[in-house]
Every structure is written in C-alpha cells, then in structure tokens.
C-alpha cells in the first residue's frame, strides 16, 4: 500500500516536471519567445506566433509523445525479456521503419508530400511486426522473439547501408544521414496528427501487458501456470512496440537510449515490479527526451545538434554511472 502511494507521488512529480519542461520547450530555442510576449502577439502574421503554433508546440507534443512511447516500450521489453539491456530497438521494428523511410529519401519521393515519409515508415514498421510474429510466434518464448528481432535489425541496417552506398549523389546521402540521426526540429502539426493516434494506441496495448509482465518474473513456465497466454502477450508487445515506435521513428528518425535508460532510472524509485514501472517510465521518458530536445536547441555557436546524437552522448555516461552504482550495491 505504501509503495502504491509512493508510485502515485512519483507519477505526480513527473507530471509536474513534464508540465514545467513543456512550458520551457515552448519558450526556448534559437528565437527566444518569453511567455510575457504571448500577451502581445500580433495575431497569425506575427513570426513569433508562427514559431509557437507551427514549430514549438508540435515539437513539444512530439517530444512528449515520442519520449513516452520509447520509455514505455523500453520498460515493457525489459520486463518481457527479463533483460535490463533490452530497448525498443531490439525488436528491429524501429529499424524496419527507418529503412522504409530511407527508401523514400533514396528514391527522392519524400518531398512529394509531407506524409509520404511517415506513411512509408509506418508501413515498414507494420511489415516488421508481421515478420516478427511470423518468425517468432510458434514458440511464444522471449528468446525466439529476440532472435527474430536480430534478424530484422540486421536486414534493415544492411538495407540502409546499401541505400547510402548506392545513393546517386553526395546530397542524397547527406539527406539520408541527416534524417537517420533523429531530430524533432522543424516538425509540424501534421507530424503530430500522423503520429499521435498510433503512439497512443500502441502505448495502450503496452500498458495492458502489465499483469502478464509481473507473472513473467516467475519465468515462462511460472507465467503459463498462472494462466498467462505467452503468445497473446508476445503479439500485444509486437503490435504495441510496432505502433508506438514505428510512428515515433516515422516523424523523428531514430532516437536511441531513451528506451534503454529510462526504466533503469525509474526502477531505482519504484522497485523491480515490471507493471509498476510502466507508467512512470512513460512519464520519465517524455521528460528525458523533452529536456534533451530543449538542450540541443540551445547549442551555442553551431547548427543544432540532432537530439538522437545528443541522447546517445548523454546516455552513455548516465549508463556508466548506473553500472558503477549497481556494482557498489552488489559488492
């Protein structure tokens, strides 16, 4: 009971933090727009109005949605595989989405319409989910699931590398590289409208796996004895990760580490029970990505650092610190 109350307190704290970061995210950037300015905005023609409504608010919403999707997917997968190194990337669905997106850049159709690239990416994620379930399903075990993920990952990274090496000119290659690095810059309301339904649906599926994840802490045999359908759990996770992370990749490119680190940070506050980890991980993932995205916007004296790159750069030392403290507590 006490722990449950502690969980709620943590969630409220994270929500408050998220609200603060969201407000900061609307204000901060190359063009500083303090909230006091909002009162005297000159209507739809004022550049600050355009910046806030067309760039900052979509960017903030995407940061929250994508961060939450990645954090939640990471927590779910770490619970499901009982492996603390699992992250949304391990299933290969994100890289299938990225590969499909890269194809639109390679064939130079991405700019035909703003939804071409996201639509392709989501189709890629869907194909990934279908392949994943087809290859891994009969066993229903986490190991075959992960192996299927390795296959998809290898296949799609080979595809991306091939597209890069065959790209018709250096500009097309740089376009692909720029997109792959993962960024929320200059996204708009359309991106939010495209990604939000899929991220929300996928996240709902993942949240529903909580009880099954708790049962799985007893091992697959134990979970089966408790009446958990492993195949159903697997299908829910494949579909949930596919929808949430596929949509995330479709609008932002590849952003790593959020899904890997967030559950570790949260676990220290709420304990090891996987179902308790899900909601706080989503909230913490949103906070983490939003904070990183605010930081990269303020890159001094250079073009904006891609948030995917920044996450990886920040993620490695955080992970090292976690590892060292884990070692100390074991010793």
């Amino acid at each position: 009971m006490r722990r449950a109350r502690g969980g709620i307190a943590l969630e409220l704290g994270l929500l408050a933090l998220l609200a603060g970061l969201a407000a900061l995210s609307v204000i901060a950037g190359r063009v500083w727009t303090p909230l006091t300015d909002l009162a005297d905005l000159g209507g739809p023609g004022d550049p600050r109005w355009l910046i806030i409504t067309q760039l900052r608010i979509p960017r903030t919403l995407l940061g929250i949605l994508i961060g939450a999707a990645l954090g939640l997917a990471g927590a779910t997968l770490q619970g499901y595989t009982r492996n603390p190194l699992a992250d949304p990337g391990v299933l290969g669905v994100s890289s299938m989405a990225a590969f499909a997106a890269v194809l639109t850049l390679y064939f130079n159709v991405a700019l035909a319409s703003p939804w071409v690239l996201p639509a392709f990416a989501m189709t890629g994620a869907a194909v990934g989910v279908v392949l994943l379930v087809l290859v891994a399903a009969p066993a229903g075990e986490a190991v075959s699931f992960l192996l299927a993920g390795v296959i998809l990952n290898t296949l799609s990274s080979a595809g991306v590398a091939l597209a890069l090496s065959l790209s018709p000119n250096p500009w097309a290659a740089s376009e692909i590289m720029t997109w792959l690095m993962g960024s929320l810059a200059d996204r708009g309301p359309l991106d939010v409208r495209l990604a939000a339904p899929f991220i929300i649906a996928g996240s709902a599926l993942l949240l529903a796996t909580g009880p099954a994840l708790d049962a799985l802490t007893l091992g697959e045999t134990g979970a089966r004895a408790l009446g958990v359908s492993l195949r159903r759990t697997q299908a829910m996770i494949a579909l949930g990760v596919g929808l949430a992370c596929g949509a995330a990749v479709a609008v932002s490119g590849v952003i790593g580490f959020v899904g890997l680190i967030t559950p570790h940070l949260v676990r220290r506050l709420v304990g090891d029970r996987p179902s308790r980890l899900l909601v706080p991980s989503a909230l913490a993932g949103a906070c983490l990505l939003l904070a990183a995205d605010i930081l990269v916007r303020l890159t001094p004296n250079a073009g904006e650092v891609h948030v995917g790159v920044a996450m990886a750069a920040l993620g490695a030392p955080v992970f090292l610190a976690l590892l060292l403290s884990m070692r100390r507590s074991l010793a």
Partner: protein, 285 residues
C-alpha cells in the same frame, strides 16, 4: 484602433496575401538564403541591402569561396524558426539536406524559391538568371552569365591541343560522372571524363583496381586546404600506382570549387585550365 489594423495588415502580408504584389512588381527587400551555393549567386546579383541572411556554411573558411564576403552579412544555422523570425519576403532554398526544414517552409507562409543542384553549366546559368530576376536585377544575371561564359571560353583548350582522359578523385575515391556540373566543366576545359567508363553515374566510387586496370591520363585530386590530408592521398600513395607502366599525372582541383555552380565556375574553369596545361607539360616531358 490603428495598432490592431496595422498588425492585421502585417499579418496578411506575412500570410502571403500581399506578397503577391511584391512578386509582380517591387523586388524583395528581405532575402534569406539557406544554401552556400545560392549565397554565392545572391551576393553577385542582389543589392547588399536586400540580403537579410546567408547560410552558415558560406562563412566556413575552406568550405566556400565567398567566406570573407559572406562574413559581412548575418547568417542562420538553417532552422525554420530563425528563418521566420527574420520576416523574409523571399527564401532561397536548395531543397536538399534537411527535409524537415524544406517541409516546414510552406507551412510557415514563407515565399520560397527552390533551386535544384544544377547538373550542367547551362542549368547553372539559368539559375543565375532566375535568381537575378527574382531579386529584381535581371541585368546583373545576364552580366554574370556572360562573365562565366567568358571564363569558360578562356579556359577552353586551344585549337590543336589534345584532350586528356581524366578522373576526379576525391575523399574515398568519389568520382563525378555524367550529368554533373563537374563533368560538363571538364568537357569544356579539354578533359574527357573517364568516370562513365567505370560505371559511375552522378557521383560514385571508383575502386583502386579499376584505376590500375584503366588509368586516366590525369587524376584530379581535390582537397579543401593545401596541406589537409584526404583519404584519396592514402589510396593514391599506394606503391602499385607508382609502378604503373602508363604515366598518370596528378593535378589538384580544389574540392571547394567542385561544390557549386554560379560565380564559382569562374575560378573552377581557371583551375581546370591550369591543371590541363600542367598535365600537358608534364606528359610531353
């Protein structure tokens, strides 16, 4: 009463409703360029007062031939919000590079002129003239095009001079093939581009083996700064190339001159003419 009215008018103008008038008559007064190659043309055809910002690439020494001129103007790092905040009445964009930015501009009611990467000299000259018309100085576009043509004519081989088989070799063995500006420039300055023989379309890599099996007479190795080592040097220092029975001349074609069309075609054609003359002298020795 007046203040809201002004802001509405300003709003409409920015929303593109009044910009139509600017398109028809008055030249743009706040031009923002997002691409270093477009920066180079803009500096030649626009009044300094019309240029609101250039790209940050143009300021980087070694990356552009217009560094010192570009440093006199403000610049953006190429984010949509910087562009909007400058209230431009014309944005020059290449459409390549960051697709999120290119996707964002139409949404922000910015009047945008998109230029592709020119694949030939004629295409580049057409872009020069188009930009000059856009900024309201068509005569400067014609004059710049004439200067470029004159430079090309001066760099053309003299009658009777042999043409040289050549290959551009930069970075990781990247060669520029048919349907590129560099290919057109090579043809006009007395080189036969060998890239197509190696299966290169657009830009592509030529492996060392292919180079050994079928060496060109001239290898045009690009570099950014005179002393800056490039990967191509490592490949080209391979002893097998020195042991080739056929002689192959290495000449420098600065990489910075390969990036853009427009005014940089003038030093580029001079550099190629110099490379040709050096190579001819060396090969006849």
């Amino acid at each position: 009463m007046a203040a809201p009215l002004i802001s509405v008018v300003r709003g409409l103008a920015l929303a593109g409703l009044i910009v139509g008038a600017a398109q028809a008559g008055t030249p743009p007064r706040r031009v923002v360029s997002l691409n270093p190659c477009l920066d180079g043309i803009l500096l030649e055809v626009a009044d300094p007062g019309q240029i609101t910002a250039l790209s940050h690439y143009a300021r980087e020494p070694g990356q552009s031939v217009i560094t010192s001129a570009a440093r006199r103007f403000p610049f953006t790092w190429g984010s949509a919000e910087e562009v909007v905040a400058l209230r431009p009445d014309l944005v020059l964009n290449s459409g390549a590079g960051d697709i999120a930015l290119t996707g964002a501009l139409p949404r922000l009611h910015v009047r945008e002129a998109r230029f592709t990467v020119p694949a030939s000299i004629e295409e580049s000259l057409a872009q020069v003239r188009r930009m000059a018309v856009l900024v309201g100085h068509p005569e400067r576009g014609d004059a710049l095009a004439a200067r470029i043509r004159a430079a090309l004519a001066a760099a053309a081989p003299r009658p009777g001079e042999p043409r040289l088989g050549a290959l551009i070799y930069q970075y990781h063995g990247l060669a520029l093939g048919p349907h590129t500006l560099a290919d057109d420039l090579m043809r006009r300055t007395g080189f036969d581009n060998r890239a197509a023989r190696h299966g290169v379309k657009g830009a592509g890599e030529v492996p060392l083996e292919a180079l050994i099996a079928d060496p060109p007479q001239v290898l045009l190795a690009g570099r950014l700064a005179p002393d800056e080592p490039v990967w191509a040097d490592r490949v080209l220092s391979n002893p097998v190339l020195g042991a080739l029975p056929t002689r192959m001349r290495r000449e420098t074609f600065p990489a910075v001159l390969m990036f853009c069309g427009g005014p940089s075609l003038i030093p580029a054609s001079a550099a190629l003419a110099e490379a040709r003359e050096n190579a001819l002298r060396g090969l006849s020795r």
